[in-house]
Symmetry: C2
Subunit: 339 residues, 2 copies
Amino acid sequence: MALDARKAQILKAIVEDYVKTGLPVGSRAVARKHRLGVSPATIRNEMADLEEMGYLDKPHTSSGRVPSDRGYRVYVDELMTDVRLSREESAMIESLFRSKIRDVVSFLKETVRALSEATDYLAFVLGPECETTTIKAIYLLPASVGRALLVIVSDVGVVENCLIDVPPMSREEMEYVNNMLRSHLCNVSLDQIHSKAQALLKRETSRYSRVIAQITEFLTSITEDSETERLFMGGTANLLNQPEFKDVNRVQDLLEAIENGSLIRNIMITQTQTTDPAITIGEENQVDKVKEFSIVYGTFRLGQSAGRIGVLGPKRMNYPRAVALVRFCEQLINKHLTR
Amino acid sequence: MALDARKAQILKAIVEDYVKTGLPVGSRAVARKHRLGVSPATIRNEMADLEEMGYLDKPHTSSGRVPSDRGYRVYVDELMTDVRLSREESAMIESLFRSKIRDVVSFLKETVRALSEATDYLAFVLGPECETTTIKAIYLLPASVGRALLVIVSDVGVVENCLIDVPPMSREEMEYVNNMLRSHLCNVSLDQIHSKAQALLKRETSRYSRVIAQITEFLTSITEDSETERLFMGGTANLLNQPEFKDVNRVQDLLEAIENGSLIRNIMITQTQTTDPAITIGEENQVDKVKEFSIVYGTFRLGQSAGRIGVLGPKRMNYPRAVALVRFCEQLINKHLTR
DNA sequence: TTTTAGCACTCTTAGGTCGTGAGTGCTAAT
DNA sequence: ATTAGCACTCACGACCTAAGAGTGCTAAAA
């Protein structure tokens, strides 16, 4: 059942031709372009075999072959050869966000933009799960009359803030509240924050209880919202390049799903990530709407939790290049944010 | 040249029919649905007049009429009747972001989402021009070893922050820097911030100069980035609903322009805003890519500067409804953020 | 036994023709 | 000034045809 050398070569040629042109590829083309030293007729026989094995499909009885999902699978698993990014290209990407490392969020956004531009696919980054991140610093600061700014910094350098109403407070009172927050909430992980804050709220029946209540509410909302808040995407328009979008209606569905971020779920479910840049092809994806696409994504570490970065493109994707670029971005993030 | 009552009635009927169906409307349809008590033949004569006056177009010699840009213009200026949102609808929108007023940015994002869902067009909001906003509070806070968090709060409640590298500092030193920042930069407007910070940097030759330099850089970058950073959009996918997107290529261009935010420019240029919800129709737009669309946008005040909120949709837009919804959102913002 | 040449066959695609129907403009009658 | 009638135009869909690409099979060659 394993592929002999020639079948492998042919399958590889077909995948790569199809990726390049988007047209079903015929025996002539394979024989000519890849000079295997055999005639089209021989290729045809091999192609018939490959089809029977389930690696190729025919759009209709009498036209060239197209890789099936399984065909792509063996291609990415066994056939494809890694590419290295050219020096110029990696330099180009890196320069895209020279002095942009201000904060984690904008850094991730820039990375996603660079990735989408380099690949011409939809790129996404999923920030680190916040459950495992811990609060490193928490401050309540006077912002204007009757309002204070609550700022928290997580161990991975993500900053959240919100404005809350406060009664007039003296400097000492503010100091007192700050000490209280610091002593109770610093080094607490976000999944414990709710109960910790509740406890604090119960204990504190002083005149600050309303302030504490607002703070508690905010802290809780962070974990709730983070699902959507930590997903960034770029290059949505690139999807429309793909010839598989001859009809608009398909795009619509997908775009909506993308916009409201239900794409996340997909990755969460399909998370049997084995190889580093994980690749899921067509029907392998759990979510219906992306069953016509492929996803290449990898993991980066940020503090003690992990995030994901990847691209979503047509099954007819340039996998070697996508893998190289995703991997490059992973490294970029690890390099710049780990310290 | 002014429209007599019947011509007005007919033009109005045609616009509204066309908005509803998207199909060129013929004399029969006008006569039947709007029971003007005249025969199709009469309507035809009037339609011929309206066409000559430039208010109607014919897609081809022998099919119904379609409003021209000028036709839409007189419709929105003189013909259309204001609609009121139903009680349920306004309540629905308002409830969409009940407890979401944490911070200005997420509030604006929610508003845009609500607006895009209610209209089924692309909605956008352009935050207040930052040039005129002033810094109300500025803090440098210890975040972790070797890093500090710089936080600034503007008068309109927008919070910006960034992490910077700092040498080890005692509490007193930190206090000193904070005092310096506060005394020099508080109540300074963002368009002066660069020079002020530079001056501060020149004067301060102490060991903090590197810290100050980083701060200066960040403050400058805020004004530079804000062009893109203060634009939020929602409902991109809605554009694909429009039948004018039978072919995908058109979408592509527009989506790209939308994604990278060059849509801003349009509004900046077309800013001869006279009526409150301003309406620009088709060719009236300065930017080529939106010459096939219409924009309805209004202004909201935030502190002493202003922001814009609006929708972008097909020329064949439900203008009365769009106007009502944009106006409603303006009020919503003014109500919730003015205090 | 494997490869190749040859050939009939299939199926898509583009172009062309034709009939239908919606809607017009014009003319003559009301 | 309005209307009925009528010939005319044009987009659209159905149907057909020819061309071209590619296949599968068979029989000959290596």
